[in-house]
C-alpha cells in the first residue's frame, strides 16, 4: 500500500503519520499499527473515516474493527 510507504518516508512521529494517512485518498478498510519511540496505536480506517485506538501496555489488530 503506497500510503504506508508515503507515511514511512515523511513521518517521524505517530502524529505526523496519522496526519499523512488522514490527508491521503484511501480505498478499503485497514487496521494499521503505528509505533514510534514513545507510543503504539492502531488506526482503524476506511475510505472516509479514521479512528485511533490506544492502549496502556499492549494492543493488537486483526481483520475487523474493534471500535464500532
Amino acid at each position: 500500500m503506497l500510503v504506508i510507504r508515503k507515511a514511512l518516508k515523511y513521518g517521524s512521529t505517530v502524529e505526523e503519520v496519522l496526519d499523512i494517512i488522514l490527508n491521503s485518498p484511501r480505498t478499503v478498510g485497514l487496521n494499521l499499527m503505528v509505533a514510534d519511540k514513545e507510543r503504539t496505536v492502531v488506526v482503524e480506517l476506511t475510505a472516509y473515516r479514521m479512528l485511533v485506538r490506544k492502549a496502556e501496555n499492549a494492543i493488537y489488530s486483526t481483520n475487523q474493527f474493534q471500535d464500532p
Partner: protein, 169 residues
C-alpha cells in the same frame, strides 16, 4: 535480477467460458480501475513503476498497467482476509521495551511468498526506510524508517459504502 517464467495470471490458464469471463474482467480492469488508480498515484511512484517494468522486461515494455494492478491487489480485495499484529510495552514486557510483531498469511500472496524480500530506500527527500515486500509491489504492508516509525497493516472488513476505488492504491 528476478526473472519469472511462469504466469501467475489465472486468465492464462483459463479454458472455454472461463477465458471469456477473464477477458471481460481484464477489459473492465484496464479501462475502469487502472485510469482511476493512475490518476491518484503521485508521479514519483509512477516513474518507479516505469523503471521497474523497463528493467524487468529488459527495455521491451513500458506499460504500467500490470504493475499498477499488482499494487492494487489489496484495494480490489484479491488478497483475502488475513494478517494480524500485536505490540506490548511497559508493564506488559519484562524489560519494559516495546515488542511489536505481525504475521503475513494473505492467501492471495502465497504464490508470491517465495519471492518476498526486504528493500532499503534512501530517498532524496524524507527519511530512509526499509520495507518487507513482494516482487512488483512499490507499496508495502510492513516497514520501518530511520526515525523509529514502524507501520504494519491488516486488511479489515468494511461495508461497501465505506470503500472506494477512488484513492491511492
Amino acid at each position: 535480477m528476478l526473472e519469472v517464467w511462469q504466469s501467475l495470471d489465472p486468465a492464462h490458464h483459463a479454458q472455454g467460458f472461463e477465458r471469456v469471463v477473464w477477458f471481460f474482467r481484464n477489459l473492465y480492469a484496464r479501462f475502469q480501475f487502472y485510469p482511476v488508480f493512475k490518476w491518484h498515484t503521485p508521479d514519483e511512484y509512477l516513474q518507479e513503476m516505469k523503471g521497474f517494468i523497463i528493467g524487468a522486461s529488459r527495455g521491451e515494455d513500458f506499460g504500467t498497467y500490470d504493475i499498477m494492478m499488482s499494487n492494487a491487489s489489496q484495494d480490489l480485495a484479491l488478497t483475502g482476509q488475513a494478517c494480524s499484529a500485536f505490540a506490548a510495552w511497559g508493564e506488559a514486557t519484562v524489560d519494559g521495551h516495546l515488542y511489536l510483531g505481525r504475521n503475513l498469511d494473505h492467501s492471495g500472496m502465497i504464490p508470491m511468498a517465495e519471492f518476498q524480500y526486504l528493500a532499503f530506500y534512501n530517498p532524496d527527500q524524507g527519511y530512509p526506510f526499509a520495507v518487507h515486500n513482494y516482487p512488483s509491489h512499490l507499496g508495502t504492508m510492513s516497514g520501518m524508517n530511520s526515525e523509529g516509525i514502524v507501520i504494519t497493516s491488516n486488511y479489515s472488513i468494511a461495508v461497501s459504502h465505506e470503500t472506494t476505488i477512488f484513492g491511492l492504491p
